[in-house]
Symmetry: C2
Subunit: 303 residues, 2 copies
Amino acid sequence: MREHFADRLAAALTRAGSPVCVGLDPVIDRIAPALGLSAEEAAGSAEVAADAIWHFNQRIVEAVQPYCAVVKPQSAFYEQWGPAGVEALRRTIEFCREAGLICLLDAKRNDIASTAGAYALAYLGDGPLSTDALTVNPYLGRDGIEPFLSEARKRGKGIFALVKTSNPSSVEIQNQILQDGTLVYEHVGDLVAQWGADGIGERGYSDVGAVVGATFPRELAALRERMPSTWFLIPGYGSQGGTAQDVVAAFDERGLGAVVNSSRGIIYAWDSGSPATDFAGAAAQAAREMRDSIVAAIEARHQ
Amino acid sequence: MREHFADRLAAALTRAGSPVCVGLDPVIDRIAPALGLSAEEAAGSAEVAADAIWHFNQRIVEAVQPYCAVVKPQSAFYEQWGPAGVEALRRTIEFCREAGLICLLDAKRNDIASTAGAYALAYLGDGPLSTDALTVNPYLGRDGIEPFLSEARKRGKGIFALVKTSNPSSVEIQNQILQDGTLVYEHVGDLVAQWGADGIGERGYSDVGAVVGATFPRELAALRERMPSTWFLIPGYGSQGGTAQDVVAAFDERGLGAVVNSSRGIIYAWDSGSPATDFAGAAAQAAREMRDSIVAAIEARHQ
């Protein structure tokens, strides 16, 4: 029998002693100098760009692996380069999983019925882009979740549904107030908890996680109370302004329940002073510092 | 200067005398018999499946082109086959656009900032997967729309944001009632109209369209009144139960303002009795009948 996704995630974070997730968001202009290329050279063709991305990712993953158990490729930066970019994504996912990392694909997919089923097969099945978990958008309701969940549960995988996103205008829909006083994102959080209620693993967490931004610490704390069995995937740390203090409320009394992502703050860490050729070393240092800051903030809370 | 997307769409539908959009949703088990293959043969490898999809699509597009101006590949069915499937999508988009059809890519993408910008470059820029318009999910608010819109407007392209989807559980979020009595989907409709307000073309329509399902005709009529300048992309016709009578309220007094999609009802029309080898003829007939039904319903309303 396959291990439950939520148990596997808990075990991996415990083993690594780190809730850090490294976001693999390769922007070609920014990775070019690290590879000794001009931006024009690196973007010379889709194939050249895709190859640059693949080489950059390998070096980053090898460098940060001591400090994290989870990585999150952002599909957009691969799709941008068409079929060649998707091949770089395929190789990246395969490389990360073979290295023993848990790979969350951030693709925010959403659809219904057989279409959602096709996305589920694409990313949670056993096809070329198969990964450990996928982010999804909940706007379509349960019909847009079940096909993903059904495929995920066959294979010990998971999904993370957007609840409260890290961007300022997330309030336009997510913070609207419903008739009974509930905010839309709270209502969505309740739905996400329901969708996951029949998929709770041995450690008490469900295989339906929630994406909750680090940039709204008050909402993060309230959602933690509201969704005690839900893994949170937390974007917005670092470059978007979230700090260790902002995310500490996402962790439960076991120091688990949350994965905190940083992309630009880690993979482009060399931009703040290191030589570009040491991009991997700078990424490793940034990942270690992020791990240390969050772990210290969690421990301080328990003292 | 590039023609405005909404004007281009209006001109194309007027010229074709048809509001029909043919959805290119190739499910390998269902297209295999049309190509004289067993399902096992057609799904033998990602490359074989992608090749089958590409051959099937060419025949379908050639057959239905006399009866429609718009096609809508559904990205999931291509992504399912990894890089090879995305290559089949690239060829399909290119083939449709070279044939003079308007190609809407149904991918329901959504993200913020540079990530949304990467998706926008992927599908609305000038890269390998560049198409005429893209469906997007509005849950993240304006931050999740502007990067798409900015790229679209540079190039005379458009976006269609989900407002009220065709599936039963769309009510779980979309039909929640806000404090002032507005439903969530009405609020989203108002936002979509606002996002498009500074992108109105010469014919009075905006370059930010709305996806509104055929399966909720009352909501469709109410949204038409609420969003008079917005193009509607209407899924749910045919296989999902929507009829010509259900969608007629989406058309304005000029008989414009809506594109009605059918996927399975057209591309698998042979399934209801024709020999599989005549799949293209059956698709053409189904597209013609759909056009005739909707045009007749629009005309009947004006008498």
